[in-house]
């Protein structure tokens, strides 16, 4: 390709990216929020709690898509984030706290929540009036993000940032060694509730835009990439954010250039980055 042609192609790419700048901005907010929380999701070994919460949240979005088709419930159908939030926070109360004497083991409860929420979501979208409901559920609708949506996403990101930046000491100790933290006077249940509450909020706010696939990806893959390299907790969080941002921009470029669905393109870039880092880290060890 000659230089004028290359410049023209770059300009066209930039123009298309600018056309989707709200979508890119929204995706980056979701990426940053979920990748910060993801470090704790991976370290606390609650990846499948994240998956179940994401599935519950998607069932909330599916419920909204279903309700929007019925005359009586059309109003409710216009609030997918609120419905997703209600189901996700319900899931937080049900799944986040392990009771040693519970009749159903926690991993089994997570499995039940994941399966039932997934099934409910599929059933609801199969009867939804919106034609592309199934795609919205799986892939989200990133390209449809508006300035108003960005404000919603920023609103969900704020409590996450406050908790993780201002109260990082408490969040870290309570997740690393809750029993010792309790003996020193930390209110472990309260901090856990704050963590899981912000996790539920971030998932619910992101779900209708990013879909199950990308939200789950942001909660796991950038954090794993970061933990392969990081030597400190703050380093892990910074690298997780960086990995998520790089994957989002790369995925967006791929999506715009080759007309690919955006969420899977981002998730693929995220996975590729993790594999590259893993290979380098394995050789470097």
């Amino acid at each position: 390709m000659r230089i004028p042609e290359r410049e023209a192609a770059s300009r066209r790419l930039l123009e298309r990216l600018l056309l989707f700048r709200d979508a890119l901005m929204g995706s980056l907010i979701i990426a940053v929020t979920c990748s910060i929380l993801g470090v704790y999701v991976v370290l606390r070994r609650i990846v499948f709690v994240g998956a179940a919460l994401a599935q519950l949240s998607s069932a909330g979005v599916a419920l909204a898509l279903f309700l929007s088709g019925a005359t009586l419930t059309q109003g409710l159908g216009r609030h997918p984030t609120e419905l997703a939030l209600a189901l996700t926070l319900g899931g937080v109360l049900f799944l986040a706290f392990e009771s040693p004497r519970s009749l159903v083991p926690r991993d089994a409860a997570i499995g039940i929540a994941y399966t039932v929420a997934g099934a409910a979501g599929i059933l609801l979208v199969s009867k939804a009036a919106v034609g592309e409901a199934h795609d919205i559920l799986i892939h989200g609708s990133i390209l449809g993000i508006t300035p108003g949506d960005i404000r919603v996403l920023l609103g969900a990101a704020l409590p996450v940032l406050v908790l993780q930046l201002v109260f990082s000491r408490q969040v870290l100790f309570v997740s690393f060694d809750p029993e010792t933290a309790r003996t020193l006077g930390y209110r472990v249940r309260l901090w856990d509730l704050a963590f899981f509450g912000t996790l539920g909020l971030a998932i619910a706010a992101s779900m209708q835009y990013a879909g199950v696939l990308l939200v789950f990806d942001y909660l796991v893959v950038p954090a794993v990439t970061a933990l392969l390299l990081a030597r400190t907790m703050s380093g892990a969080i910074a690298l997780s954010v960086l990995a998520a941002v790089v994957a989002t921009i790369a995925g967006f470029l791929l999506s715009v250039t080759y007309d690919l669905p955006t969420a899977p393109a981002i998730a693929s870039c995220s996975g590729a980055l993790a594999i590259i880092v893993w290979v380098i880290r394995s050789r470097w060890r």
Partner: protein
Amino acid sequence: MTALFTFEGATLGYGKHVVLRDLSFEIREGDYLGLVGPNGSGKTTVLRAMLGINPPLSGTVRRAAGVRFGYVPQRDQLNQSYPLSVADVVRMGRAPRGLWNRGSREDRAAADRALDQVGLTALAGRRLTNLSGGEKQRMLLARALVSDPTVLVLDEPTNGMDLGATTQILTLVKDLREQRRLTVVFVSHALNEVANAVERIALVVDGRFRLGTIREILTAETLGGMYGITVDVEHIGGRHVVMPHPGGSRFDNADPRTRGGKSAIA
């Protein structure tokens, strides 16, 4: 001496599940108490009641005013995936002083002193994953010392360690107790090890509880009755050795929790 912890008719357990019934005993200031019993016998339940994590199902567990815990959990419970250094973990031990406190110069100095006391200054920057079992245990001890405790509680601190590392930890705990005038509660399933370190022993076996001095507890009758095995006990040169007879165990099909009746205190 002042009683730091007083159990009065305390029944301990979780929900409707009773682990130990009707416990009445005291832990006094300056005590060096071994809480000994097999895995799953109820030691951790007593410990959690003491620490205030699990309140008793009935009766009371009173803690004297001004008690500050230095808790050393089982090191196997540590999640090594966290990218933390020895110094990071030790600094966690400073008790919270206000919601907004993010750690002061004084906190860092206290952590440095604690690291020095357990001989880990040179390893302050080392990652958790690169520590041996003994180093990890000393790190947890340093963390427990950071908040200047009055009571040191160690949960199975020598579990899975070789003889050298075990001796190092026991000597370190003994020295710390003397230097800081600590009350120490040492939880372990290794009776021989604990018997030669502590001053009093609380035996917890199959829901039964018995507390006394070394001489009171380390008898063939008491141990045989509690463990349901035949044992010999020797006291040689100030050291205590408990030797079970080979083939001396007696299995029966009765629920062990109903065998001994109420807890007894020697």
